[in-house]
Symmetry: C2
Subunit: 352 residues, 2 copies
């Protein structure tokens, strides 16, 4: 197969971890007889530095022309903590999500038996956790009208949702649930918010189309608790953009495998795969960043974007092998020898 992949390495450790994923994908291509055509483009702080725009039109063209996008991480401390900064790398992320129509962020949280003791949670709490949070990514308060009044002394943000936006996200949630534990939890704040009441109404109306799926409705504050108490009681969760931002990050730390968690953002025009970790500026250039989350994001890409299951499984297998044999970066090596980012990538590619 011919695979056209846009490569958005981004900032910080982004380029380093992306480089390892490329090695692994290229090894897969050789083994399974595919031809990968990589096209790199700038986004984030590096794009601001280059042309003053965190998501330039030229990058957008590259993404549109590709079959899928592999993304590293963006963000640079020089743009942080300045509420008055005019241009921020994150704006690139939001613009990209909107222009590519990436309305669904798929964030799995699962455990690796060998890493379970890295979790801040006790073993019996986290064992068996395998959940997916489906976060709406192009609506809500992220994209509503906002501004100031009263000489800047009053600020406002607007959260808006349409039935259509909720339906397309919920449909994906029901469908994912059908392939798994057949449990769907709709997370909202329907006791306060009108948008949440529309979410709940809409999902309730869809229940009849998926009679095999058991649907529950929970308030976001209750979910924030239960994720820490009994994460293994969840299967698939669907939620709006801001709640999803908070809950996916909370969920990411409970497994103890943050450095390994992949994600997908699916949309109208293409789909994008990225590790959930950030650009980790302090680690940049030190050859210590863990590339496994990016490599596992590439596995998701093979499975989801190209329907290539054997290729995805082969990547996951070699990642498991590297964990079992201790060919890992310092965040996972414990008292044993730590490998560099590049060495891990080379080992994975060689063992495909």
């Amino acid at each position: 197969m011919k695979l056209n992949i846009a490569l958005l390495a981004g900032d910080g450790i982004g380029p380093e971890v992306i480089a390892q994923a490329v090695k692994v994908c290229d090894a897969i291509a050789v083994k399974y007889n595919h031809e990968i055509n990589w096209t790199s483009a700038l986004t984030g702080a590096c794009a601001i530095d280059d042309c003053g725009e965190p998501y330039p039109d030229s990058t957008h063209e590259v993404c549109l022309a590709a079959d899928a996008v592999l993304f590293g991480a963006i963000g640079h401390p020089k743009y942080d903590n300045d509420p008055k900064a005019k241009i921020r790398p994150e704006q690139g992320l939001l613009k990209m999500r909107q222009k590519l129509g990436l309305f669904a962020n798929v964030r799995p949280t699962f455990t690796f038996p060998s890493l379970i003791d890295n979790s801040p949670l006790k073993r019996e709490r986290i064992e068996g956790t395998d959940l997916i949070i489906l976060r709406e990514l192009t609506g809500g308060i992220y994209f509503g009208e906002r501004g100031r009044k009263d000489d800047g002394n009053t600020a406002f943000d607007t959260c808006t949702y349409t039935r259509f936006e909720i339906q397309r996200l919920a449909k994906m949630g029901f469908e994912i649930a059908m392939t798994r534990g057949k449990k769907l939890c709709c997370v909202d704040k329907a006791n306060v918010l009108e948008t949440s009441r529309l979410w709940r109404e809409t999902v309730q109306d869809m229940e009849k189309d998926y009679p095999e799926v058991t649907v529950s409705y929970e308030f976001v504050d209750a979910v924030a608790m239960r994720l820490v108490q009994w994460p293994n009681s969840y299967d698939v969760l669907i939620t709006e953009n801001l709640f999803g931002d908070i809950l996916t990050d909370e969920a990411s730390v409970i497994s103890g495998s943050m450095g390994l968690m992949p994600s997908a953002s699916k949309g109208l025009h293409t789909s994008l795969y990225e590790p959930i970790h950030g650009s980790y500026p302090q680690a940049t250039g030190k050859d210590i960043a863990n590339p496994l989350a990016t490599v596992l994001s590439a596995a998701m890409m093979f499975e989801d974007a190209f329907g290539l299951q054997a290729e995805a499984d082969a990547i996951r297998e070699v990642v498991n092998k590297s964990l079992a044999e201790g060919i890992v970066t310092e965040d996972l090596s414990g008292k044993n020898k730590a490998y560099g980012t590049n060495a891990v990538g080379d080992w994975l590619a060689k063992n495909i």
Copy 2:
């Protein structure tokens, strides 16, 4: 001293836990020579059942006339999960907060050495945790304009904050921090929301008035992570209403002492003290509910509302003694004998 206390027992286990706090307060009054004048009033589901209103005017009058309010819990399953329900017990809560001007919710999270193993977190993660989240309680998206458009197919909610609202909450945050570890974390989403940028700006402008306080600014998603990873790295956190709702609940489960956590809501016209747990309908009338969070809320009331430190300390001391001697309800008794709600209350009152 003459103490006029409004008693809002509420629903579910509310009346049972409140009854124990009353016993303890009455014992304190005898010992320290105070005269407590209790006035009971209805709120929540029981008030809806009584007069169709979750926070009736008559209850509001009782609260206004009192020096402080002691609150149980509200909520009843018959009003849950119905997005179209016209009247909900929670509306009473919101109306009460607004009409009493309770703009600051003070939620401590701390650990009891003897209960640390109840935490879902590993001991080394949770040990030493002693933080306070100060949640803005009468602004933001809870009280903004909301509604539907397009024949009900579009819903919206508006989040609004004024500089004044932020200042009065932040001032309290700085002042609390001065009495403790002198660290203040402002939690926002300033990389996306205009209201958050106003929060950050406003708090930054106030830093110069509290040169001893070290202020940090963190995004809400990052805090949702760090609360699980390193809760003991926080001192005082300030945040807006909705973020506070999620984070205070998340924080409440990490200590393993959910059944013991008190809270205060401070405001313009009075202040209110309540356990953070809910109305726990399944336990109602079974004499199994843990009264300690309500009893400790009464301690906060003596300290904060009346400035009676010795009385507050005496209550905390007897609670610690009950924990040490195992005079506790079934949620804390482990393999040992469990005491009933009433028995625990009686024991506490007797040992004051």
